[in-house]
């Protein structure tokens, strides 16, 4: 039970630090900042809890008793953090699918045709913000008017190409 509570608490602490920082000023490179926030909060929380375990015998009742349980708690915290980090892009940028769901809800039984959707959602809504994100995250860089992949962008692209090839899947989008 202690591993469950400690792991959940560490992940929650990371989320609260993230909310506090974002409400003050959202970092430009939000994805990598989010990863750093969760890892540093979980690491700090674990060190503080471990220190409490050794310094205050009364705190031991609420903390994991064995090393394996401590690792389990930290793994749980990191797993919850990873799940949130992968959800985050859908919060920051408009997901086309969720935008479509809202548009269809707004039009009700009348619905929409493909051409009406093409008129409402153009490249400035669906493509340009993502290209800007790629610049902010240093996945691409501008050389005059041309976008070039950075080593980080090339590595990310190679990873997904390799995975899709392994699955025998076509190019997504």
């Amino acid at each position: 039970m202690a591993a469950l509570f400690l792991g959940s608490f560490l992940a929650l602490a990371g989320f609260l630090v993230h909310v506090a920082i974002w409400r003050r000023r959202r970092p430009r490179s939000s994805g990598s900042s989010l990863i750093k926030i969760f890892i540093s909060t979980i690491a700090t929380g674990t060190i503080v809890a471990a220190a409490a375990f050794f310094v205050f015998p009364s705190a031991r009742a609420g903390l994991p008793a064995h090393l394996g349980d401590w690792i389990q708690a930290v793994t749980l915290a990191l797993a919850l953090a990873a799940a949130y980090v992968l959800t985050y892009p859908a919060i920051e940028v408009e997901s086309p699918t969720l935008l479509l769901a809202e548009l269809f809800d707004a039009t009700g039984a009348q619905g929409l045709t493909r051409s009406e959707l093409h008129r409402r959602l153009g490249n400035d809504v669906l493509v340009r913000p993502r290209v800007q994100d790629m610049l902010d995250e240093k996945l691409v860089e501008l050389s005059g008017p041309r976008y070039l992949l950075t080593p980080k962008g090339r590595a990310l692209g190679a990873l997904f190409v390799a995975w899709r090839t392994c699955l025998r899947a076509s190019r997504g989008g």
Partner: protein, 164 residues
């Protein structure tokens, strides 16, 4: 002492089973699509975790932690697969990978643009029963994506993220 580390083996086996069944099923039955093979992998991993949990004496809370870690893995793995399947950034990076000299914005949107993004999603939403077709019009048939959209709006408000 060693029993306190068994959970690593159990969760590790469940994750490896999930990946193995997903990859095997996707390669052997490519027509069924990424999502079905992913679902098969997730269920197989869960079955492996349940079978291993049955052989180990541990508290209910410990089993719950293992299950939560495995479910987080499945969620992360789903997103990883989904990024390859639907993410605009990954697709744009894929287009740029093909061009060592890079592309201008105009060249980029000539290869991948809002029209294709919408058409692919409409087809997926119709395929998954989220939309139904009435003549030339598409009408919402289910509200699960709308609920997700509301959750995202709520998180945007909590985080003070302005609408794009």
């Amino acid at each position: 002492m060693a029993t306190h580390f068994y959970w690593i083996l159990m969760v590790g086996c469940a994750c490896v089973t999930c990946i193995t069944v997903h990859v095997t099923s996707s390669r052997l039955l490519p027509h069924q699509g990424t999502y079905r093979s992913f679902a098969a992998g997730s269920v197989a991993g869960l079955a492996a975790l349940a079978a291993l949990s049955a052989t180990m004496h541990a508290s209910a809370a410990s089993h719950l932690v293992n299950l939560t870690i495995y479910l987080c893995f499945v969620y992360v793995f789903f997103h990883f697969n989904n990024m390859g399947e639907t993410a605009r950034r990954i697709r744009l990076i894929g287009e740029l990978l093909d061009e060592p000299n890079g592309l201008t914005y105009v060249e980029l949107v000539a290869r991948y643009n809002a029209r294709e993004i919408i058409d692919r999603r409409i087809d997926r939403m119709v395929g998954s029963g989220q939309l139904r077709i009435e003549g030339e019009r598409f009408v919402a048939a289910q509200s699960s994506f709308l609920m997700m959209a509301h959750c995202m709006r709520l998180l945007k408000r909590i985080l003070n993220v302005p609408p794009a």
